[in-house]
Point group: D2
Chain length 136, copies 4
């Protein structure tokens, strides 16, 4: 199973008055993980956008499993979950020194620049990479 690991040092600005990472940062950490996954196993996401294929987030979920604070360095493990027609799902696990901090997943639409659904089959070079990554 293809996977990527992204290292993220917690920023002071990401903490809140409880002294931990505010929960709204996890979708941003997931996105950093996704960026690296695309770069390593598909194609850099900015190049995909230049080809005219976008993958906006349709829905996502986040579970907080442990405490992350300023000074911690987090790891985001990113792996494909599924691809069905014009939708793909990706899952994430955030850890610190091997301890669970958060997990979650995102579901994306595959759309053109007009935000209308587009089947990735239309993207010759990209499609085999997608089917391999998502084990379709």
């Amino acid at each position: 199973m293809l996977t990527s690991v992204t290292t993220i040092p917690v920023r002071y600005a990401e903490t809140d008055q409880m002294g931990v990472v505010h929960h709204s940062n996890y979708p941003i950490y997931f996105e950093a993980g996704r960026t690296e996954f695309f770069q390593q196993h598909l194609m850099p996401y900015p190049e995909m956008e230049k080809l005219g294929l976008f993958a906006p987030v349709l829905s996502y979920e986040v579970s907080i499993k442990g405490r992350a604070s300023y000074g911690h360095t987090l790891s985001v493990e990113t792996r494909p979950a599924w691809m069905k027609g014009v939708r793909v799902a990706i899952s994430y696990r955030v850890t610190r020194d091997g301890l669970d901090v958060a997990s979650g997943s995102t579901v994306h639409a595959l759309v053109g620049a007009d935000m209308k659904p587009v089947h990735p089959r239309s993207f010759g070079e990209l499609y085999p990479m997608l089917t391999r990554a998502f084990a379709v």
Copy 2:
């Protein structure tokens, strides 16, 4: 059913290069809705924290239903979902001119300043308000 409505003008900084609100802002909009719900129907959340009761987010989910852009004014409708022991869930609907933009929910732990679970029954003045709001 108790509910509150919070008005949120989209900020330029909240948009991304697709020209819409970045999906990581919805948990922040939910939080603004939750703040107003507590203020109207329970007690201001900062006062609850001063009493020693915190409600950190354990998990949440977000579904994007429509397009929100800079210049739009959003409404966040906040309503209690359930309360079970030391956990509560709250749900949210974000609209623009009556059109669905996003929906979602958050699950919270009720904990003391030491982040250990604490039953809201220990908070004499607050407990009846909670059971009424969550229709327990």
Copy 3:
């Protein structure tokens, strides 16, 4: 002197582990103030962008004068500072219950959709509003 006042409730996500508003939020509060100033005294900024006139930030400065925390409601007072050729400057004062919280200013380029400088004189309907607002 034209001015506008914008009300901003501090969001939990905007606090940091020192228990106050993280300093990176002030340019976002300034932007909210600017949005309201444009709406009240010039034209809604999204409409200006549709006309093909953009005002990206070239530089800005922020001074922290006092403490702002979750639960506080802030006021942003926005007023034009100067307009010279294709540049304008705007200044801001953030207060809470009349007490100073922060102040600052932004300098903007006036550019077209191609990000090349464009004199506002080219925007017939807008120019008299700008000269009046900036007392040129």
Copy 4:
């Protein structure tokens, strides 16, 4: 002159509808640079906070020099500017492939946990590191 260089991949969430990094992110990039500078040349900032010394931002300024977009990897060069009594200033230069993207500076108060000014001389182990770094 002591200096540190921090690598920052631009996040999608940091872009705005103009397709570039929103200007409010630069103080956050500066902070990431500062974190690395403290770690390399002074002591990790979280340890300094544990000793009871905090360095909240009193003021800062940012100049945008060029375009940074999603897909770009930025470098933040951090160097001390000056130290006078209970205040220090730090300056930053953000580049992409050697091209200027932004520059700026921050001024900090040195305070104790009670947010009252405290002279760094009171911190035996830290003071010689500070005077060396700031070439006082």
